[in-house]
């Protein structure tokens, strides 16, 4: 076992799959000799050659469109979009093409590919280097949306995503790229998609979170424990398709639910979790469901630490649903 950061685990996953499967290739802006602006693809061009890890012209629409064509003709492309904020020129290709190809062709054509992209705030990136756009993509049948929060999951989920027969949007919490370290097996392994991870078991309040909000929720749960509140903490890991049974079971367990994400609240992912619980297990609920999220505003710059949910806001929500 090696101790790796999340960005190192991503790199390790890419190397691992590329060694095993010559059809896997990496493309994007600055992913080649430079190794990507976050160094997630560092060393790939050196080890696998410029034909398997290469820079493209600066066009997200072109990157994703050509990656779809590669996937349709026998390769397994892993496309990097440098920041999730820049993915929107490729929105049509992702939503109208990659996600719909299997369905519209009756299974005659498919686009098994992965789009990796760093998302979220916490690096003083302002409006255009900080967004969390998962809700746009979770509204798209045919896509899978995956968000790791630990080095172990980053490697195992990325390998599983590359081997998956469907297109996967792999959102990497850039705030955690280097701040979280953990043990990662050296061999190739998969973490099954559409399974959630129980971060800690508890009986008083269930907290659902993912990505960069997981360590925030852990801190809040620690502080809640000091106040005698025992939190059940769930890292969703795959947002689409969601492990719905797992969510409902975790909600039933405590009857009190907090959902945390950094994206805006309105029509955000927390709304889906809340509705799922309300539709299916409302009779188990002891308190209204609380969402702790970013504001319904563009992403700020100097005040980002107030925009992003922190342990104080999460703890406040935990206490509110606990004392209801």
């Amino acid at each position: 076992m090696a101790t790796l950061t999340i960005v190192q685990a991503v790199n390790d996953a890419l190397k691992s799959v590329m060694r095993d499967d010559p059809t896997v290739l990496v493309l994007g802006e600055d992913v080649g000799p430079k190794g990507g602006v976050f160094l997630a693809t560092e060393g790939l061009t050196a080890e696998f050659g410029i034909e398997r890890c290469f820079d493209t012209p600066l066009s997200e629409d072109g990157i994703i469109g050509t990656a779809i064509g590669m996937a349709m003709n026998g390769l397994k492309p892993v496309a990097e979009i440098q920041f999730q904020d820049f993915i929107f020129p490729a929105f049509d290709q992702i939503v109208s093409e990659a996600a719909k190809l299997r369905y519209r062709s009756g299974g005659q054509y498919t686009a098994p590919m992965v789009i990796r992209t760093p998302y979220g705030g916490g690096i003083r990136g302002g409006l255009y280097h900080s967004q969390s756009g998962e809700a746009y993509f979770c509204h798209t049948p045919g896509l899978k949306v995956v968000v790791p929060s630990t080095p172990h999951d980053a490697k195992g989920l990325l390998i599983a995503s590359i081997l998956d027969p469907d297109p996967v949007l792999f959102l990497e919490p850039k705030a955690l790229y280097r701040s979280v370290k953990g043990e990662v097996p050296e061999d190739s392994y998969q973490v099954e998609l559409s399974t959630l991870r129980e971060v800690r078991a508890g009986d008083d309040v269930t907290v659902f979170c993912y990505g960069a909000m997981v360590p925030v929720a852990v801190k809040a749960a620690d502080q809640a424990a000091d106040k005698g509140i025992d939190c059940h903490l769930v890292d969703l890991r795959t947002l689409l398709p969601l492990d719905e049974e797992g969510v409902l079971e975790a909600a039933r367990r405590t009857g009190r639910v907090v959902v945390v994400h950094e994206a805006p609240r309105f029509c955000g992912y927390g709304a889906e979790i809340s509705a799922l619980i309300a539709e299916n297990v409302i009779e188990y609920m002891e308190a209204p469901i609380k969402r702790v999220t970013g504001f319904d505003t563009p992403f700020p710059n100097t005040l980002e630490h107030h925009y992003l949910p922190d342990e104080r806001r999460v703890l406040d929500a935990i206490e509110q649903v606990h004392s209801y």
């Binding site: 059809t23 290739l25 034909e51 493209t56 012209p57 066009s59 629409d61 072109g62 994703i64 469109g65 050509t66 990656a67 779809i68 064509g69 590669m70 996937a71 349709m72 003709n73 026998g74 390769l75 492309p77 020129p89 049509d92 290709q93 109208s96 093409e97 719909k100 190809l101 299997r102 369905y103 519209r104 062709s105 009756g106 299974g107 005659q108 054509y109 498919t110 049948p141 045919g142 899978k144 998956d164 027969p165 469907d166 559409s194 398709p241 969601l242 719905e244 049974e245």
Partner: protein, 369 residues
Amino acid sequence: MVDVQRVLAADGSVVGAVPDMSDCRLRELLVHMLRVRCIDERMLKLQRSGRIGFVGSTLGLEAAMIGSAAALGPMDWMWSGLREGAAAVMRGLPLDEYVAQMFCNSNDTAKGRQMCNHFQHAGSHYPSWSSGIGTQLTHGVGAALAAHRRGLDEVHAIYCGDGASSSNGFHSGLNFAGVWKAPCVFVLVDNGWAISVSSRAQTAAESYAAKGRAYGVPGVEVDGNDVLAVHGVTAEAVETARGGGGPSLIVLKTYRMLGHSSSDDPTRYRDPEEVAAWAERDPIDRYETFLLDRGVLEAGGRERLAAATLAELDEVIRTQEAAAPMSTRTLVEDVYAEVPGHLRRQYNDFARIQESHGEARPGEGAFPL
């Protein structure tokens, strides 16, 4: 100005170098153009009588479609812009699958999910296409690069219309193909109109072919109603791409004789004199004259060929019109490789209501959870 490549004048007289093709091959081009026209006629008739929903007519585009597609090898790919379906029939799309797709019935390989006129045929490398404009260009470029990387002897012919030249996909597609020297050929069918917007209103460039220059992709303009010129120029571009010489842009100057689709009334936005002038340049009449003059076609040959195609087509239509609609289970299948739990539950809820109304057919019951 860019010269327009031409072999046959509008009256069928030879004004350029006739490609070195056997009489049999020359005749085949007419056979396939006639098939395109017959299929078009029949589909429009079905649409007008309310038996199918939608037709994107190919009338007037027969030389552009057949001349270019006939220059492709059997392993080459054809990426569709919109109206290439009948050319795909020439390349291997079975006529019954074509008609099944128009009826969107249970024999449709797209499982009735696409609206009519959205064909595909994996066996002859004719991929599924969406209704969005210009998205296929980068797909074709990526697939061409994949072919090169995998050592496959494939050229990817990527079709689009004059309207699509304004799309971001056109820009990305030509740019990436130029940078990568991808083995592909862009076939821009300038048929005069993007629904109701004239081809002249899409660009201030001196020509569509000139646009290629900016991407390092050589562009050429061809009389798109001259099947021999279209075939000759496409064959050359395909050979260049196959030999590692990189992509080209071929602009086929032609004219969409009918509306954008069966739902469009072109008399609302275009001058009947313009339509009449293009009718004088009909691609089939022109080529028929050439073949008659050359002694490759006998008098009355065109009529006999058309009658045979129509008879074949009517038989296929009879069979396909009687085919069953798709199973309701296809509502949730093929979204993912496996039907996930939430879609099973959504379907099962629907199936329960169907059953309670006595409307579920065999095989349409609930999924196991």
